[in-house]
Amino acid sequence: MKRFFASDFFYDFVRSPVALLSFLIVLFLVLSAVFASVIAPTNPFDAASLNLMNGFTPPMEPNPFTGDVFWMGTDDQGRDLFSAILYGLRISLFVGAMAVALAAVMGVLLGLIAGYMGGWLDNLIMRFADIQMTFPSILVAMLIFGVARGILPPELRDEMAITVLIVSIGLSEWVPFARTVRGSTMVEKEKEYIAAARLIGLNRWQIMMRHILPNVLNPVLVIATITLALAIIAEATLSFLGVGAPRTEPSLGTLIRVGQDFLFSGEWWILLFPACTLLALALSVNLFGDWLRDKLNPRLK
């Protein structure tokens, strides 16, 4: 830990205003999402606690019927927007992080196999990646989402919505991981320490996992950070289009969709606050990812 604080990396980090600010915003948002149940004044998922009389309360103004005051106002069902945003942030971040984890594991494994085995397997995996890249990832995610919903029995649909969301976003973002890892694997496998590992009778799987994997993981962290921003936006887009998180468990995208219905009738806060939160989150993660890339792996630029 001491070594980390004395490193070049930390020195540059503290002196880069963009990196420092974006990291602090991400940290702040992540912490408020994690501790949402402690910070939030109400539980937005608990339908019984909602009071319809509180509907459409503007921010910081007492409700004419109940006299309750809400920081960021309420939506049409009287749900406290501040609490809804905190819980929505939690879902957005969770879906984003899990989708990136899935994409990273899948991309790293497929890239490793393609790069090490070569031949027809390499061709198969990488041509499939090429084909997938010609479609916008949101389209791929919608396709997978639609298929999954079609297969699932109706009573499971809402329950599985978040899982389906994670899988569909994860499957649409694995290609950059696979391409980078494949490239580094092809460089590493020609090195003599791999030949030495073959001489002592290790099989391909052992060589890939024990020798190559630790040496190709460096750029994965950078790609994961940049992909996280993409995944959060993809989740918000899907939810905004009405195919993502259900209304009973709103993510930021769902909240923006709900808010959009009321924008022209004057209830601006229902749209504005979730949208600003999403903007702050996606922008900060993206800026931090860019800085990380320039710092750790300028070649990826």
């Binding site: 090195k191 320490y193 030495a196 001489l199 002592i200 009778g201 290790l202 020798h211 630790p214 040496n215």
Partner: protein
């Protein structure tokens, strides 16, 4: 009695275009013969040096000897066992491969940068199941480090903490940890300083005496050859053109190519 023998060894590489391109351009398959009908044999406990310029096929022979490449034709035998016998079970083949290890050319690319030296040396022991128990394995690693002139505390360090010559010592220790009978040295000193080269060669010589190892030495450096080899084979374009003892070769080369090779070496005045 010869210990390791190559008989009519041939290795061809297929450099053809993809099938579809060949059919469209009506070109035949293209082959490169890297090693063409090479035969030699090495006595137990001696050093056989293969010399030749770049592209003469010496590294290809080294790779076939350790099993990284399979010969297109011909055989390599160790102790009268064919290394590429198709009837051998993978298990038996693995056991036989243990007896031939290799020291590589580059001291930088031959050690996994993410592994501690101790783990690098322990891996062959575990893979071949040579010593049981973590304590005994750690003791063996310390012993190996001392045998190559490093300190037992170096086991905890990473490869980048060592110099080129020290890394080559680690590489030698890794080859030794499989308890081999034969070590193929693929230009083990060509990436090192001249002052360090002599140290590494002396280490190899003393280890040879201690464990009665057989060396197949691949090199283009005639100074190295004269100091270690008992027998020298000269390779040119994949074929063995001359074979002799060092004294004979340096004083009375029979082939024009050998003479050219000897004259091409820079001499100190």
């Amino acid at each position: 009695m010869s210990f390791i023998t190559a008989k009519n060894l041939v290795r061809r590489f297929d450099l053809s275009d993809p099938w579809i391109v060949r059919k469209l351009t009506f070109r035949p398959k293209k082959f490169l013969t890297a090693v063409n009908d090479v035969s030699f044999s090495v006595e137990k406990g001696t050093t056989y040096a293969l010399v030749g310029e770049s592209g003469s096929g010496k590294s290809t022979i080294a790779k076939m000897a350790v099993g990284l490449l399979t010969p297109s034709a011909g055989t390599i035998t160790l102790d009268n066992h064919n290394l590429n016998d198709p009837n051998l079970s993978p298990q038996r083949q693995r056991l036989m491969r243990r007896r031939i290890q290799m020291v590589f050319q580059s001291p930088y690319a031959s050690l996994n940068p993410r592994w501690r030296v101790g783990d690098i040396l322990k891996e062959p022991i575990q893979s071949f199941d040579l010593i049981q128990g973590t304590k005994n394995q750690a003791k063996r690693v310390e012993e190996l480090l001392e045998q190559v002139g490093l300190s037992p505390s170096d086991a905890k360090k990473y490869p980048h903490e060592f110099s080129g010559g020290q890394r080559q010592r680690i590489s030698i220790a890794r080859a030794l940890s499989s308890q081999p009978d034969v070590i193929i040295c693929d230009e083990p000193t060509s990436a090192l300083d001249v002052s360090v080269q002599a140290q590494v060669l002396n280490l190899l010589k003393s280890l040879q005496k201690e464990f009665s190892l057989t060396y197949l030495f691949i090199t283009h450096d005639l100074a190295v050859v004269s100091s270690v080899a008992n027998r020298i084979g000269v390779l040119n374009k994949g074929a063995l053109v001359e074979e002799a003892s060092p004294e004979e070769l340096f004083t009375n080369p029979k082939q024009d190519y050998t003479r050219m090779l000897l004259n091409a070496a820079p001499k100190m005045l």
